[in-house]
């Protein structure tokens, strides 16, 4: 069971994306919990996460989050995937991110 944490400004817009991601994860049988939080709470909520993704609106805080969570792979959701609320593409990004990390 993988824990995926999405971070954005307030955790509002990403919540809709979480819904779509959950749907896709269910379809392909990928076991994971997905939660959305404001980026300010990164250290509290993502300390036990398997992977962290930032919304494009907080992409400039990527280096800060990476410093805070050096043991967790952190990346930014692409503008295209986010804009289309494309849960499938984001799940694929997660799998790629975790895959790279396991190698």
């Amino acid at each position: 069971m993988k824990k995926i944490v999405l971070l954005c400004n307030m955790g509002l817009s990403t919540s809709a994306l979480v819904r779509k991601m959950k749907n896709h994860a269910k379809e392909i049988g990928y076991e994971c919990t997905i939660v959305a939080f404001p980026v300010k709470k990164a250290i509290e909520v993502a300390i036990d996460a398997d992977c962290v993704l930032l919304g494009p609106q907080v992409a400039f805080q990527l280096s800060m989050v990476r410093e805070m969570l050096p043991h967790i792979p952190v990346n930014v959701i692409t503008m295209q995937a986010y804009g289309m609320i494309d849960g499938k593409q984001v799940i694929e990004q997660v799998i790629a991110l975790l895959g790279e990390n396991n190698v």
Partner: protein, 116 residues
């Protein structure tokens, strides 16, 4: 049926990226890399146009008599547009300020400090 959620997301995504680019541009100016800084401002502006186009679709819809029912997500999108616009103005001021301060030798760039 007009998909407000999709439009809202397009706006949030595009202007959100814009905001990130502008913030990174300030960071680069602080490092003394004004060329990268100006490139990032340019990239941000390109993203902003995408967001603006999505927003225009909504306005066109409204102008054609279609009732636009605002929800929290749409308000959030409008909010993001406003914040990106403001950040752009402030970013340009800050970058100009850093450029003067660093080229005049009044302050050291972050990069120089690390080397010292």
């Amino acid at each position: 049926m007009f998909d407000f959620e999709a439009i809202s997301f397009q706006i949030i995504s595009a202007v959100g990226t814009t905001k990130s680019k502008f913030m990174l541009a300030i960071e680069e100016a602080k490092n003394g890399d004004f060329k990268t800084s100006k490139r990032l401002i340019g990239e941000g502006e390109e993203c902003f146009v995408l967001g603006h186009k999505a927003h225009m679709e909504l306005l066109t819809e409204y102008a054609s008599g279609e009732k636009v029912i605002p929800d929290l997500l749409l308000m959030h999108a409008e909010d993001q547009i406003m914040s990106a616009e403001n950040i752009k103005l402030m970013a340009e001021e800050l970058i100009n300020l850093y450029e003067v301060l660093i080229t005049e030798g009044i302050i050291k760039s972050k990069g120089e400090k690390n080397n010292a």
